[in-house]
Amino acid sequence: MSYLVMECHPGYAVLLDEEGRFLKAANLRYETGQTVYDPVLMKEMPERQRHTVRWISSGIAAIAACFLLFFGIGYYQNYIQPYSSIYLTINPEVQMDLNRQGTVVGLMGTNEDGETLLEGYDGKGKDKVTVADELIDRAIEMGFLSEGGRVSFSIDSPDEALFREYGTELRTKVTEHLDGRITITIEIMNHQDGQGQESPENSSSSIPSQPSTSQPEPTSPSPSEPSHPVVVPPTSSNATDYDDTDYGPDNDGVTDYTPPVSSPPADTDYGPGNDGDTGYTPPSTSKPPADTDYGPGSDGVTDYTDGDTDYDPDHNDDDNDGDSGYDDDDSDDDSDDDNDPDDDD
């Protein structure tokens, strides 16, 4: 490519190339009219427009990144991060991790049977109820669960409302699912305190010939036995034994009230249980009781005198030593004794 030198300036030369482009190039001692072959062309001006485009595009990229991050975190928290768990126990134990939407994000067999139950089953992305239904079906198929069996859902959720919602949903839906096919006991528990929350209920209400477990069966509080989760100890803050009401016709006659067992019964002296013993012990003091001359305990002796008084109106005491005990300037053994109240003699 040859270039025709069109114009020369101290800083640059204007060249015309063979394709009709006018270009600026370093003026390497060129002369107008000269033909040159290897000029040092000037770089294209840094255009302002390009910067704006870059600014805008980088801005858009930044905003897009922020959006992605924002929605990504939201998506992760809502859909991927396990938020609550349901521990399904038949005999096989299965742990279901749920996201905030109640969809299963993780399934794990926590014992050997549980692993057997989950073998070849993919419940990820399904709703917890679907998974629970399908797992129960599989359990029935595999013979883990039979008529009259027990299914326990232990729900580990960060808040009470969710626990209640899941509990209700699971119980209703699973009951519906199994309706008319098999009769089992469904048990909902709060995993966090490991104690039964809702009374066991017959999954199939159409069959009334169920054992007494179909009815709330209050027993004495037995926190050591979580499989009988009927009575809620008052110490549990999560205890919501809403089904066991003592009001209305369903009253079972048992109030489930247990007096607080934190301390032995107070030994009261009021009422019929009075044992006559007030149990009152006068506060012991390090000093013997003061010899008071007031009140009924007065012994008639005022003890006012320390035996060293000079006051003797009756003149029956010869103790008057003529020393008033008053001492103005010189130190005297007597005065010391007389004026010191702590000195009991």
């Binding site: 040859s2 025709l4 069109m6 114009e7 300036h9 101290p10 800083g11 640059y12 204007v14 015309l16 190339d17 063979e18 394709e19 009709g20 482009r21 006018f22 270009l23 600026k24 190039a25 370093a26 003026n27 390497l28 001692r29 002369e31 107008t32 009219g33 000269q34 033909t35 040092v40 000037m42 770089k43 294209e44 001006m45 840094p46 302002r48």
Partner: protein, 241 residues
């Protein structure tokens, strides 16, 4: 501070005016030499070191590209000079194994280039160059009537091949309609509307490259045989398309 303000004003004036730019470059030649010396690690020799020319071009580029937002002009210019010199030295590294024709040989003052047989006739060449120069000077004068300088055209020249082709298309149409070129010379105005409708090129494209189109059309009026001869490629390209 006042000096800094003054130079910024000078730079902004030089952006508009080619002569002011030349004056500014001349005034700051010592600065450009100093920057080049920093790079070369020796003082550059005027009229011999290409690096100095490169640095001057970089300074000119700095005038064009400077804006107040870029900070101090001289710092910006120094930065640009340094980068262009680095670019140039990298480019020249490819030829590092090539001997310069200007390299002296022996103890004589003669250079290697002078020992080569020259098949070109220096007299003919000088004559051609003078003729070319005359043509270019005439073109420059004629362009001035349109208020267009060659430097403007260089700034206004299409950068993209597509735009260049569009301009060529418009030129081809004008060549086919010589009355358009006559009109151009008579009215001193570019018949953009006719060119656009006639050639089918976007009017906006022609408007944007008005100065370039003026130069191109003027070259194809009359005279300018040598320049047209140089531009053989232009028409070749159109003919192929």
């Amino acid at each position: 501070m006042n000096d800094a303000h003054k130079i910024v004003e000078q730079v902004y004036a030089a952006k508009e005016n080619v002569r002011a730019a030349d004056d500014l470059i001349r005034a700051y030649l010592p600065f450009i030499k100093a920057e080049t010396a920093k790079f070369l690690k020796r003082p550059p020799i005027e009229g011999q070191d290409d690096e100095l020319s490169i640095a001057m071009m970089a300074f000119h580029e700095a005038i064009g590209g400077y804006s107040r937002a870029r900070g101090s002009f001289l710092k910006y210019a120094a930065m640009l000079i340094r980068s262009r010199l680095v670019d140039y030295s990298r480019r020249e590294q490819r030829h590092s194994r090539v001997i310069s024709l200007d390299a002296p040989i022996g103890e004589e003052d003669a250079t290697l280039g002078e020992t080569l047989a020259d098949d070109r006739d220096p007299h003919e060449e000088t004559a051609l160059r003078d003729a070319t120069r005359a043509e270019i000077e005439e073109l420059t004068r004629q362009m001035q009537e349109f208020g267009v300088s060659l430097s403007d055209v260089a700034d206004n020249c299409p950068k993209q091949q597509r735009t260049l082709d569009a301009c060529r298309k418009a030129l081809e149409y004008a060549k086919g309609n010589p009355e358009l070129l006559d009109d151009l010379l008579k009215t001193k105005r570019l018949p953009i509307g006719q060119l656009a409708t006639g050639s089918g090129v976007e009017r906006k494209t022609l408007e944007r490259h008005r100065k370039y189109m003026v130069a191109l059309l003027l070259i194809y009026t009359n005279g300018y045989e040598i320049i047209r001869g140089h531009l053989k490629q232009v028409m070749k390209g159109v003919a192929v398309r």
